[in-house]
Symmetry: C2
Subunit: 371 residues, 2 copies
Amino acid sequence: MDDNITLKQAFDKSAYPVGGHGRRNAEVLLEAFRGIDGETESDMYGSGAVIEGFQTEIAEYLGKPAAVFFPSGTMAQQIALRIWSDRRGSATVAYHPLCHLEIHEQNGLRELHRLEPILLADKSRTVLPRDVETLGADVACLLLELPQREIGGQLPDYAELEAMSALCRERGIKLHLDGARLFEILPYYGKTAAEVCALFDSVYVSFYKGIGGIAGAILAGPEDFAAESKIWKRRHGGDLISLYPYIIPAERYFRERVPKMERYYRDAVELAGLYNGCRGAKTRPQTPVSNMFHVHLDAPKEDAERIFAGIAERTGVGLTAYVNAAAEGGSQFEVSLGDRYAGVPADKLREAFRQLDEALGAQAAEPKAGQ
Amino acid sequence: MDDNITLKQAFDKSAYPVGGHGRRNAEVLLEAFRGIDGETESDMYGSGAVIEGFQTEIAEYLGKPAAVFFPSGTMAQQIALRIWSDRRGSATVAYHPLCHLEIHEQNGLRELHRLEPILLADKSRTVLPRDVETLGADVACLLLELPQREIGGQLPDYAELEAMSALCRERGIKLHLDGARLFEILPYYGKTAAEVCALFDSVYVSFYKGIGGIAGAILAGPEDFAAESKIWKRRHGGDLISLYPYIIPAERYFRERVPKMERYYRDAVELAGLYNGCRGAKTRPQTPVSNMFHVHLDAPKEDAERIFAGIAERTGVGLTAYVNAAAEGGSQFEVSLGDRYAGVPADKLREAFRQLDEALGAQAAEPKAGQ
């Protein structure tokens, strides 16, 4: 064993990486285009069979009148909020403080669209009906992210979701779904995508997260909303002459993996149980409600990195590629399950967790010098 | 011959289409990825060998310190103008009235960035030094498009270009190059890309026009400008997790076709000569300065469509896929030459133009009833 190997290097070399569908390499594209006829016509600036066919397929799946393919969710969601804002004549929108728009988009919503978000709830929990009750009539749109990724992928109860939807309708507040991981939560809710989306006025879904495509997103809603979103797509520079390099893989992997979401969810529940069985480790949520969860460790980042690198090298099981520092000297990382989990031999996984429990237990017994 | 066939249908069926490199179909991607190892790692949100390597290659080619790959020129150019505007503390920019930003972007520059363009020159000619002399100190940036596409691909003389660059520097006005067709004009100017770009503070080039890639653009300029453009790329929703489906074809076709730009240019000069030899036809510019020109016909759109469809059916030579109505009852279309022209047999082309001259001559002799 090489003590100098980084966790990332050990993970990349591991025979049995646990999370995701596979490496993000050119094979994802090559595989998706296998069997595609070279004569297949490109889409042209949003028109053509390849884009229109996929938009129709996803609109039907989501139960919305119209759907528009975008290069990114960042673009799609800013545009959704802008349209609802313009219709209401108010720059005020509302979302969770750990919303993608708030922490990952370089403030595009304010810098490009001059919208003013109200931050609802706090960083420890999801938005709940009592938060929605505080919203005034000046709020054009509430964005809900299901599940709330940055807190481990938590969900409100379905009854709470219905209550929030009803509250928004009463008040004339449009409700937008950040459904970056919508497919992944359907098994837990026991609902179809269309049933969940019926609670919302507009919906964004992603094709490179749970679906494992290359990039791209769909924004769905009423016909006039979709038509207006195409104008904004042009303004943002997202109305590319050809989006088929993203659409063809999105369609292929959508069809292949949506039926597997139930399995990814069950696998996540199982794997979270293994983490929660280790000393000094717990998951958030304790029982996952999708294919994802966060792992929180008492061990500091550097110790955890060394422990996971060692396990990967000795057992071949790559439990995580990184660890972040967290509050109170502990550490934390995210797990999202996909196709890979089914390929990890049960005995190897058991041995990896035996070693993890042992190492975390030993680490906890050490005096915490230098902290 | 089927009288009901549309020009587009006849063109699509023609054995010898004259313009472009080929059909915009999935083969463009499949061909570019032939020989690419599936293990090739994706870029990740603007990082990684595939994007950084190409950016370095193009920065060197353009003679600029840094280059950033964008999904589209629409996004890249709005951002360039916004950066220069923020630095100057002025929302005023200047460009030609037929600039891409003015007529093809749904007013994104105003709607997203609140910039206020001054329209220079008029719709019949390129921007000239005398126009630049009218600009005040409040102008943050002048955008010049070389060649000016919407007027047939016209260029100022190189000495005029140098004079405009000098005027901008004197006045502290940043000069930005819309180089959507920069590669295509280098043979006429007899300059390297770096020599032309040295006259400009920032430069955009496209990879799906003359280069024939799938989509994508590069924005090049100083290091700090490039770094700032990446922040705006994130805000626009263009900082995709994976841009390699555009980058790999861009690199492939850039290397393959940049050396052929001289030939495309010579071919355009030859083909324009054939059009100018027909009665009732003339090209703009009369002698092309790049691979492109516009054809103006005295014949009305419907007559011209019938004539070109007939020629395509009888000779197999697809001269154009469309004709637009133009001023004074005439018609007009654009020609851009690429790889296809070399595959058109000389005798077929001669026969096509013999028939075109005959048909346009006969059409001109008819009484213009019903106009």
